[in-house]
Amino acid sequence: MYRYDEFDHALVRERVEEFSDQVARRASGALTEDEFKPLRLMNGVYLQLHAYMLRVAIPYGTFNSRQMRRLAHIARTYDKGYGHFTTRTNIQYNWPALTDLPSILSDLAEVEMHAIQTSGNCIRNTTTDVFAGAADDEIEDPRPWCEIIRQWSTIHPEFSFLPRKFKIAVIGAEKDRAAIRTHDVGLQIVRGADGGTAFRVFVGGGQGRLPHIGQEIASRVPAADLLAYLTAILRAWNLLGRRDNIHKARIKILVASVGLEAFREEVDKHYATLRHEDLRIPEDEAARIQAYFAPPPFEALPKASAPFDRALLADPDFARFARNNVRRHRQSGYASVVVSLKPVGGVPGDITADQMDAVADLAERYSFDELRAAYEQNLVLPHVKLDEVPALWRALHEVGLATANADLATDVIACPGLDYCSLANARSIPVAQALSKRLADMDYQEKLGPVRINMSGCINACGHHHVGHIGVLGVDRKGEEYYQITVGGSPDEQAALGDIVGKSLPADEVVPAIQRTLDRYLEIRTDGERFIDTVRRVGPDPFRDAIYETLDAANA
């Protein structure tokens, strides 16, 4: 893992001091809310329905047990004993007092954490594959490049007042587990012509009210020129992007309006100059950062594990967990384990302080002290000996974190919705909970196989409903909650936006309609076909019929 150097420490400490002063001036009334708002947003602080909300960055989703324990301490001391993991692999606290924020940020700084650039019109937390450094299909660990992007983008003077926020995601495998094409810029590590590291670059992806899938703007940018190329993209957008209309300010709108070719020309103009300037990443500096992400000291182990295999036979519940939540690892004898934050009837992404402490202990004991926050609002212990997976599972079970539903229908991604968020039109959490209870039967879920269901409480799409295999969007119809359903979205290397199937449904119709959709899939799928494969083969019509079949005309 990356460790702060003296510059990082000084930067974060100075920011805490600066923001503490700003909070004091706000609390005394010396700063108005209008004056304070941009300052708090630079530090991850929102004002939501019931309280301030603090979003803490987990850079590229990688953290350790000490940091997790500190997150638990914050939840316990300054909040209501829990936190909420987001699709941006950050953690949010829903209840901090304004006057506690300096103490919270100080506590975070002690463990090399902060809330810088988790909001506002800047380059946000760079995200990546949750299995980075562990996946067996990866050509290179993307996290050193995420760290390089973090260092370059943090409080970057040219990019601190962008037209809108800007999100970057990086992957190191063909398989996209970080939804890179829904980002302003998505980067995929590929081999360059010389065999060295290069980046395939996608631009202009994004969700919200005008969703776009990112388009390929460059096929092989040499690694040393990555920052020059990113600067060229940002500069082109910063100069040409709209600032007059918040809804048209994201880079996706610019790329769509001028067209990819014209945008590429603009970028190339800047790149031609920039690539010969000081932005080249020195090889020794890249190597220095890569060294932080060296693989942990794995033991040489056989591929098969007798304790693991015995547990599979002895305990059907463990076997189910192993089928659904345990992932192949590049290192023989090891696995990555998904810790689902989606218990039956729970709030997607929520975790209590006690659970955080328990996961921290388990990461320390079983996973080389490493933890990951996943795009799917789950956690991952990336490097677990197969021999020890049964013991880990038992320990997770004791703290209510062994739900064996990773990537299944109840692994719902959901935003906080109208229960917390001042932007929302409708609640997300109760719908996600009702769905989780309705589909709780694990045999049924396993029969369905992987299905991603995404819930957003408004068109800002924090629950990524556009790219859910089934997406649910909350809308307001004359003061009542209604929900619009999409099918066929996908966040991966075959990224697609879902099709809206028809008119929105009242809240109590949503869950039965989704179950009918899933049942229809079971009827029409061919052997080995996943839900999304069937949708791609037959289109949305059979699912539309299933969704609306029992609704009377007045409702539909």
Partner: protein, 91 residues
């Protein structure tokens, strides 16, 4: 009829203008005002930014939000309808 609501500066909690325009936490204690009085009270609390953040008017019948944002206002008044915030109150 209208009530005046805002978030409290110190902790962001939902507050209302109650008797003597003092901040109160319960919707039931909010002063229910006619249109003209509501505007006057809104202006008065807006002049106290050390307590009232982003004040605005909410349409009510008696003490029940009745406008287009009635669900949001009901949730603001009573807290999240679900979830972990219901499990534990702050220490």
């Amino acid at each position: 009829m209208k009530i005046v609501t805002a978030n409290r500066l110190s902790d962001g909690r939902v507050i209302y203008a109650g008797a003597d325009n003092q901040p109160v936490e319960q919707l039931a204690q909010a002063s229910v005002l006619d249109e003209a009085t509501a505007e006057v009270v809104l202006a008065e609390v807006a002049a106290r930014p050390d307590v009232f953040v982003n004040p605005y008017l909410v349409e009510v019948q008696d003490h029940t939000p009745s406008g287009r944002d009635r669900l949001k206002e009901r949730i603001r008044a009573t807290g999240p309808t679900v979830g972990n915030s219901l499990v534990r109150e702050p220490a």
